[in-house]
Amino acid sequence: MSTPTEPHYRQPLLKTPFHERARALSQIDRFIPWAGYTTVDVFTSAEQEYFSVRNASSLFDLTPMVKYRVAGADALRFLNRLMTRDLAKLKPGKVAYVVWCDDAGMIIDDGTVFCTGPNEYRICTAERQMDWFTASAIGFDVRISEVTEEVAALAVQGPTSYSLLRAVGLAGLERLKPFEHGQFSMPGASAPITMMVSRTGFTGDLGYELWMEPADAGVVWDTLMRHGGTRGVRPIGSQALNMVRIEAGFVLPNLDFVSAAHTLRIGTERSPIELGLGWLVDFKKGHFTGRRALLAEQTRGPRRQLVGLDIEGTKPAHNSLLYTQRSGRTEAGSITSATWSPTCKRNLALAMVDAPYIATGSVLWVEIYLNRELVWERRMVRARVVERPFFAPARRRATPPAEF
């Protein structure tokens, strides 16, 4: 990986260990910045990349995910005070989806915690957290270090992902259940490559995430691409991932919520309850940051909530306002994420909706602007609050996963 790099004031974005592979396969030069790295938005076509997740196998470079190692005698106590879930239940080899909040119970960020040993954890998150973690670590015997650049990460997702990983030699993978991780090896150029594999992902489908030494990244990528064979494995960019994550009902910071560590205006922070993540909050485990505020909110009921919408028509309702009636007189909230779902054949959205309208089955009206060859039309279309996730195939949980 030791390619000479330009200084940061000429080239502010870093390149991941997969960058050169990705650059070679990028047909339309669509890169976007993500957490300080340059990453692929679209390789060829978001549609085609989308179908590799739902039909075969996809590779997504998630190296820019910010990673921390947390260890020390108080690591568990520290995490249990920091996060809303009870991590005492998280044993080595397990992964948990978590959120953490400020004192007011507003979300700072979400992420995953990997228990890698007694009082040893890895945290994966979208944005840098050292400032908050350090402040939260006062009084705990715990060491926190950022390991983002030390770990290359690749998501292998899709119904054939298990077969693909078996084909490249990951023995024992059939025993790995959802939200478990373990050490696996595959043949490398000279010696076998050992890496951590977790059965996790952001697609709502069968899939794995591979966490490896940056030096192994190129070989792993090449090996996976070689074994895709006629069934197809292809790299995907952020756009395709965004489509599948909406189908799976997952939230993204800066799209569905803004971290309470960044908001400038009052009232734009969001609590886990408002984001529909109340199931991540464990009031029985004792004190944790934000507990009192969240308890009050749970008693009072949230003022608004993130819900899934099924919208008439086929035009994705990006950034639309929601109304209680077709007349558009009373606002009821707004869309945070939207996509046409090629698998469900539904026009889907996540929306932050005022409390009176959050019940499943509620009908709302969405304001959509249609571009008819530069003649713009405003439409009010009907939307129904529906259950999330929109798409949850049984294959994602099957252990052992089905062979293809």
Partner: protein, 532 residues
């Protein structure tokens, strides 16, 4: 000389606030005369040529705070004003290192992380908090501060606005706001950063134009004052007025004349005439009297009331308060014509940091020591400089290949411990600054073609600012909002009917904002029963 022309309003001083005020009054249909004692307009926002082919921004040198509302309302772009954001900034360190500030978020994060990964992340929290404070203060800038002791409906309404605005912050931020407005900059930065160089770089703007050190209470606000401007929506961005800061006052004068206003230069006002408790006009130094029912002073509050209005017309306590108003001289300025672009080995080749504000003070301690010198009545032996070379961006100020460098210097006293300023002392002050810069640039001294060295005394003599204070009064909490310039007189009205203030001595203060001029015009027009 007898009474000449009659005007609806006379503005004393053609600084940017005087001209903003004049523009608004003229646009409301008043017959307005602006009187300026210098042979040129601009006050402390001037571009002058003191060396053949070179234009200097002689006093103020960068722009961010000038209110967009004013630029638009007075059509300043149509009158030639263009403001171009600059690209970064840098503090050079004594050990040859540097900390640069870049426009690009990721470049900046990696730059700060070179010094401290912790600070790179803490910077995000710092920016968030500064932006939150800006959001609180911004709506207050273009409003007349309410008098908290008054029961006039307007005051009650404005107080309610202020109260509601404050209340809307929510509990936690109400506490934060009060702490912030009274804290020292050093204490405030300590809550975010661990790296000395990061703190030193951020601290610079907390002491500019202020006779306080970074450890003095109240300096955190001064830092915010420099952060709350914006260019085209980019909060905190600073830029160059194309053609120097005089471009701002030239555009204002042009806009004013287009509205039918009249400017007279080389017309020093000796006295503001008062009869029967009413301002009736002005008397020039040659004895000429000009009458008008409204007289607006763009001069600072001390110069206005201690030198230009006879004390017999003013309340004793008011005069006493004016005397106590802190408007101390603490900064000097060098304007330097350069034969070429000086090299700064600490700054990496090709770094855009060079096209921004450059500094050589690398610890808060060094900044505080500089202030110690001021307290003892001498200029800082290791001065803080805010140094820019606008000609890397602005092609209009020098011949091609030559450069103009603006060097703001802190601290420099108005009154020296060892007696009055002399030519020799001015030269020695200049040498201190040039040597300090030369320590970071081997070719700098050889490139100097001409240097204008300005002490606080020089700035007072030329511009008329008391003690050469660039803000017409320091920007600390005790001198802000309804206490600026004097409690009970924060609403632009003098104790004499028909007389008004519009300079930076009034809310919301200095920094080439134009807001005092605009707010004052609104107060005048309200008093005249005109539509604002």
């Amino acid at each position: 000389m007898g009474v000449t022309n009659r005007y609806d309003a006379i503005i004393v001083g053609a600084g940017h606030n005087g001209l903003v005020n004049a523009c608004y009054l003229a646009r409301a249909g008043l017959k307005v005369l602006v009187l300026e004692r210098n042979p040129f307009v601009g006050g402390a926002a001037v571009s002058r040529s003191l060396y053949d082919g070179f234009t200097y921004s002689n006093c103020s040198y960068v722009c961010s705070l000038l209110r967009t509302e004013i630029i638009r309302a007075l059509a300043l772009p149509q009158h030639g004003l263009q403001i171009i954001p600059y690209e970064g900034g840098c503090t050079m360190m004594r050990d040859g290192g540097h900390l640069a500030v870049y426009d690009n978020h990721d470049a900046l994060r990696r730059e700060i992380a070179r010094h401290s990964p912790h600070d790179a992340e803490a910077y995000e929290r710092y920016v968030r908090d500064m932006l939150r404070h800006c959001r609180f203060i911004k709506p207050l800038l273009l409003r007349e501060p309410p008098d908290p002791t008054s029961f006039r409906p307007r005051d009650i309404h404005e107080l309610m606005f202020l109260g509601k605005h404050f209340h809307n912050l929510g509990e936690a931020r109400m506490y934060d706001t009060l702490r912030f407005w009274t804290m020292s900059c050093a204490d405030m930065l300590e809550e975010y950063f661990e790296s000395e160089i990061v703190k030193a770089h951020m601290a610079g703007s907390s002491i500019i134009g202020t006779a306080l050190g970074p450890r003095s209470a109240g300096t955190a606000y001064v830092l915010l004052h420099h952060y709350m401007g914006s260019i085209d929506g980019a909060v905190g961005a600073w830029g160059f007025a194309r053609g120097g800061m005089g471009a701002i006052t030239q555009a204002l004068a042009s806009s004013f004349k287009a509205s039918g206003g009249e400017v007279r230069v080389s017309a020093p006002v000796e006295q503001i005439r008062v009869r029967g408790g009413r301002a009736t006009g002005v008397v020039l130094d040659d004895g000429e009297e000009i009458s008008a029912p409204v007289v607006v002073s763009n001069m600072d509050v001390k110069r206005t009331f201690l030198k230009t209005v006879a004390a017999e017309h003013l309340p004793a306590e008011f005069i006493d308060q004016v005397r106590k108003f802190k408007i101390r001289g603490s900064s000097g300025k060098l304007n330097i014509a350069l034969d070429g672009l000086p090299s700064f080995p600490a700054i990496p080749q090709g770094s855009p940091a060079m096209r921004g504000d450059l500094h050589i003070t690398d610890t808060i301690e060094m900044l505080e020591r500089g202030y110690d010198d001021w307290k003892e009545g001498r200029w800082s032996r290791a001065p803080y400089v805010d140094m820019l070379i606008p000609t890397q961006i602005d092609p209009t100020m020098t011949p091609d290949g030559k450069h103009y460098m603006s060097v703001f210097v802190q601290y420099c006293p108005y009154q020296l411990a060892d007696g009055d300023w002399t030519d020799a002392k001015r030269q020695a002050f200049g040498k201190t600054v040039i040597d300090a810069i030369g320590a970071h640039s081997p070719d700098f001294k050889d490139l100097i073609l001409h240097a204008e060295i300005r002490t606080p005394k020089d700035i007072e003599n030329e511009v008329g600012l008391t003690e050469g204070n660039i803000f017409q009064g320091e920007l600390t909490f005790d001198q802000l909002l309804f206490n600026r310039p004097v409690p009970g007189y924060a609403q632009y009205r003098a104790p004499v009917r028909g007389m008004y203030m519009c300079g930076s001595s009034t809310h919301p203060g200095g920094g080439v904002m134009g807001a005092p001029g605009a707010n004052s015009a609104a107060a005048i027009l309200r008093d005249l029963g005109r539509k604002v």
